[in-house]
């Protein structure tokens, strides 16, 4: 997930920006959201999802477009994300950067993000100021002013973003390579931010076409969570957005990779301090019940300090600095189940990999005991309750489910988790978490050396099977 630059204060979490919303995917759902959430569709096709929550005098207002890097094409990757940046460059009515300034002058916070599956914009502000963000969004949905000089400058910003996130971060770099290897047909092959060379190829015409294709009521939806009355909110929304021309709903089906029939391995040699190891197994998403079993597996492996990876690899064997597992439940197309680890200095990568594999094999061989399964279910349930404390997270949850399938299936999450049995876990681990179904990547650290410039935009694209 690319968060387009709020005042970013150093200290990036090492690793993998795609996973910003991990916590959420492990915590989603509640009985009764169906009753509390109100959904309607305006006559121009704009879907509206509202959740009243008066715990603070605030509203978080989101507008999400059904477009992300999966809706791009070879040679023009990164287009959706560049467009996200350009959305702040003004309309006939507002000048460049007026959007952020106006929201901030109203005491609000705002940002935007692009993923493989969506582009989202939001502002969180005092409830009595919500009309301000609505006016701005209703204006820039149809009226964006895309100018060449803004585009040329903003493309430079995005290239700086890519250098910061990927080029100079060996772990992110490896993740990008891993995904390009695991996915050969489906658009998850390329990174959200795009290949450096593609960023150079994108033109203003490409942006205009992308904007006209996707930025319309038929390809977007609104989510508001916070301190409001839905009747009043809805009439505001109708008044503000109701007259925007509907546009055409775009086909969202994308080609899928055929089943994987053998392990793929890649390595990356780059200046780095410590190795990094990642395995990505091809798995189904929430459209398949096995995805929920994988949620439980992910928690068994890495939910809290009593989890198997932490207990075994960090505490007992003292092999790794950190180890983690992550499922891709809310991915629009089926994606990967990740297991990764950073070895401690001096620990052989092979030994770490063996230890990770032992934990995977254990899931296949031994049924999980009753108490451990109960523990994991408790954790998933409580983290759902905690996540409701934040208006922003509630809105993210509704919107991410809406993109992946429908916000209405949030209510299935906990019941489906509760139903998972030790036998399910063994079966699913045996079916998906096997070497033939994975891509394994290793970062081989080269000693840091001063001096030469690496070739510009060395995104390693030449290594990728087309």
């Amino acid at each position: 997930m690319l968060i387009s630059g709020w005042k970013k204060r150093g200290r990036r979490k090492a690793g993998i920006f795609l996973f910003v919303f991990f916590l959420l995917s492990a915590s989603l759902a509640e009985a009764g959201l169906q009753e509390r959430v109100f959904e309607t569709t305006l006559s121009n096709g704009l879907k509206v999802i509202l959740l009243e929550n008066p715990k603070a005098p605030l509203i978080t207002f989101h507008i999400w477009y059904r477009v992300g890097s999966r809706n791009e094409e070879w040679g023009k990757t990164g287009l959706s994300h560049v467009l996200e940046h350009m959305m702040f460059k003004g309309t006939k009515k507002y000048g460049p950067e007026d959007y952020s300034r106006i929201i901030q002058e109203n005491g609000g916070e705002t940002n935007a993000f692009t993923s493989r599956d969506y582009t989202g914009y939001f502002a969180t502000l005092r409830s009595d100021r919500v009309q301000v963000v609505m006016d701005l969004e209703a204006d820039r949905m149809p009226n964006l002013n895309l100018r060449q000089e803004d585009f040329v400058t903003e493309r430079m910003v995005v290239m700086e973003e890519r250098r910061q996130r990927t080029e100079d971060d060996p772990q992110s770099f490896l993740m990008e390579q891993l995904e390009a290897t695991a996915f050969q047909v489906q658009p998850y092959h390329w990174p959200i931010i795009g290949w450096m060379e593609d960023l150079m190829r994108i033109t203003l015409e490409d942006l205009k076409r992308h904007y006209q294709t996707y930025y319309s009521p038929a390809n977007s939806f609104l989510v508001a969570v916070g301190d409001f009355k839905k009747g009043e909110m809805l009439s505001r929304i109708e008044k503000t957005f109701g007259s925007i021309p509907p546009g055409t709903a775009q086909k969202q089906e994308k080609p899928q990779d055929p089943p994987q029939t053998g392990e793929r391995r890649i390595s990356l040699r780059k200046e780095a301090q410590l190795p990094f190891l990642v395995m990505g197994y091809r798995v189904p998403n929430l459209h398949h019940p096995d995805a929920y079993v994988l949620e439980v597996i992910s928690a068994i492996l890495s939910g809290g300090k009593s989890s198997r990876l932490y207990q075994k690899l960090v505490l007992e064997k003292e092999l790794v600095l950190e180890a983690d597992a992550e499922n891709s439940l809310l991915s629009k197309d089926p994606a990967l189940f990740y297991v990764y680890a950073t070895p401690l200095p001096g620990k052989p990568v092979g030994e770490v990999e063996k230890a990770l594999e032992e934990e995977i094999e254990r899931l296949q061989k031994e049924p999980v005991d009753k108490r451990e399964l109960e523990k994991v279910k408790n954790q998933l349930e409580s983290s759902f309750i905690y996540s409701q404390d934040s208006l922003f997270f509630q809105a993210m949850l509704l919107a991410r489910y809406e993109i992946a399938q429908s916000w209405k299936v949030i209510d299935q999450y906990l019941p489906l988790i509760q139903r998972v049995t030790p036998e399910d876990i063994q079966r699913v681990a045996r079916q998906y978490l096997i070497p033939d179904n994975r891509t394994a990547g290793t970062l081989i650290p080269l000693p840091p050396k001063p001096g030469q410039e690496p070739p510009v935009g060395s995104s390693g694209r030449d290594r990728i099977t087309r």
Partner: protein
């Protein structure tokens, strides 16, 4: 339109609240403050819309307490609380927490350390017992402490791959000639191997006392439960001797340039100098000034000049980090190697410009409106609220702070901004750190 937030007393055994009056009522959480018999300050705020409770204890034992040669001791002491108690080993602690779906973390900072518990209402008593056990009966077992030292060393090594982190450490090392803010919170490669369980035990006995601590409790907990469940448990924690030897930071005088050569595509740059402490009366004027200069996200001058107009950076910002003692002021940015010189000079120009002429009426009004208007967002989750409450108490901001804050910000004038910019910014005397491919960056 600016609201008047007025402080008002509430009936009850403790008196404080963030009352609020204005054209419309702005909901501010109600807060009770009391001092226990062992002098621990207890702040509570009830909010029962969700069935869980967040507790955060502030212990006045941040990394500023580290002795010379023992950098990282305060960090490891805080981490060490969770490594085992007189009754339970680390594994049992982890197991019990995860089974409740609770989280218990210690987070060691520069001024103070915190211990944070989030627990479902139904498990509150069990959670409290565990919280008090790790707080009052830690054993700092030798093997586990050794492992924690090794992990910290590895994390320090891994951080070498984060250019911004490398720049930050070099900046601090060069800005502070000596003093408690000079070293990284987690210690250094040199200091950590010398730290043992005895070091932690010593630091613990010296600083982990109720009379050095503040507890904030928010969420689904009633006044009655505070009285019957919390107070008796925490009052058993015996008072200790306070020992607060005053220590000062000694700042280097710039200008000075530090270049670190790496195979990178981007230069990570920090430009800065001495800042202020939290109690400095100019804090509010500085907040407004910095918002306009580089703290105000996309509305700041640095963002406008470096990113929006020229596309030279994805992130560029400035900040003060005021603590109990004066901290630093920093401008930070990342730009491709060959743009480093231009970006540095732009940043310096902006520091000079805000010293030369008053900011515009539009800019100052925008800053005031954001700072005042976004105030409620500082406490809109349990996690944010406990932090906010602890800071108000720890830095002595006063319990009329939410009301006072808007007045203080509102009263900052353009002349004040000019005055503090001239007084505190030193564009010509900066410590400049550049982590980059130096051949490409070509810094003088």
């Amino acid at each position: 339109m600016i609201r008047l937030l007025r402080f008002s007393a509430v009936v009850g055994f403790f008196l404080l609240s963030f009352g609020s009056m204005g054209e419309t009522l702005l909901a501010m959480p109600l807060v009770q403050r009391m001092t226990l018999s062992n002098q621990m300050v207890l702040l509570t705020s009830e909010e029962r819309s969700l069935p869980f409770v967040t507790l955060q204890l502030l212990i006045d034992a941040g990394s500023r307490r580290d002795s010379v040669g023992e950098e990282g001791a305060a960090y490891l002491t805080a981490k060490g609380l969770l490594l085992g108690t007189a009754k339970r080993g680390e594994k049992a602690i982890n197991e019990e927490l995860d089974f409740m779906g609770a989280s218990l973390n210690s987070s060691p900072g520069r001024d103070y350390a915190t211990l944070n518990l989030r627990v479902l209402k139904k498990d509150l008593e069990k959670g409290l017992d565990l919280f008090l056990e790790v707080l009052t009966q830690p054993t700092f077992p030798q093997e586990e402490v050794k492992r924690e030292v090794q992990k910290t060393l590895a994390a320090i090594q891994a951080a070498e791959d984060q250019p911004e982190d490398v720049a930050e450490k070099a900046f601090k090392e060069n800005l502070f000639l000596s003093g408690p803010y000079r070293h990284p919170i987690e210690g250094t490669k040199k200091s950590l191997p010398l730290i043992t369980r005895e070091t932690l035990d010593r630091l613990y006995k010296k600083y982990y006392h109720p009379n050095h601590s503040i507890l904030a409790v928010v969420g689904d907990i009633t006044r009655e439960e505070v009285k019957t469940k919390l107070v008796p448990r925490f009052e058993k924690w015996p008072k200790g001797k306070t020992s607060d030897a005053p220590v000062q930071n000694v700042f280097a005088k710039g200008p000075k340039t530090v270049k670190i050569d790496r195979m990178l595509t981007q230069a990570s740059i920090i430009l800065g100098h001495a800042g202020v402490s939290r109690e400095n009366p100019d804090y509010y004027a500085l907040t407004v000034m910095n918002y306009i200069l580089g703290g105000g996200g996309f509305s700041s001058r640095l963002m406008e000049e470096v990113r929006n107009k020229r596309g030279l950076a994805y992130s560029v910002y400035s900040f003060f980090e005021p603590g109990k003692l004066p901290g630093s002021f920093q401008v930070g940015l990342q730009t491709k190697n060959v743009s480093a010189r231009e970006a540095i000079s732009l940043a310096r120009e902006e520091m000079k410009r805000i010293q030369k002429e008053p900011v515009s009426e539009k800019e100052i009004e925008g800053a005031r409106r954001y700072l005042i208007g976004s105030f409620p967002m500082r406490m809109d989750t349990q996690g944010k609220l406990v932090n906010f409450l602890l800071q108000v108490e720890y830095y002595g901001l006063g319990w009329d702070y939410p009301g006072k804050y808007s007045r203080l910000i509102q009263s900052v004038t353009r002349e004040e901004v000019l005055r503090v910019a001239r007084k505190y910014l030193q564009p010509e005397n900066c410590i400049l750190v550049v982590v980059a491919n130096q051949k490409m960056a070509d810094i003088e």
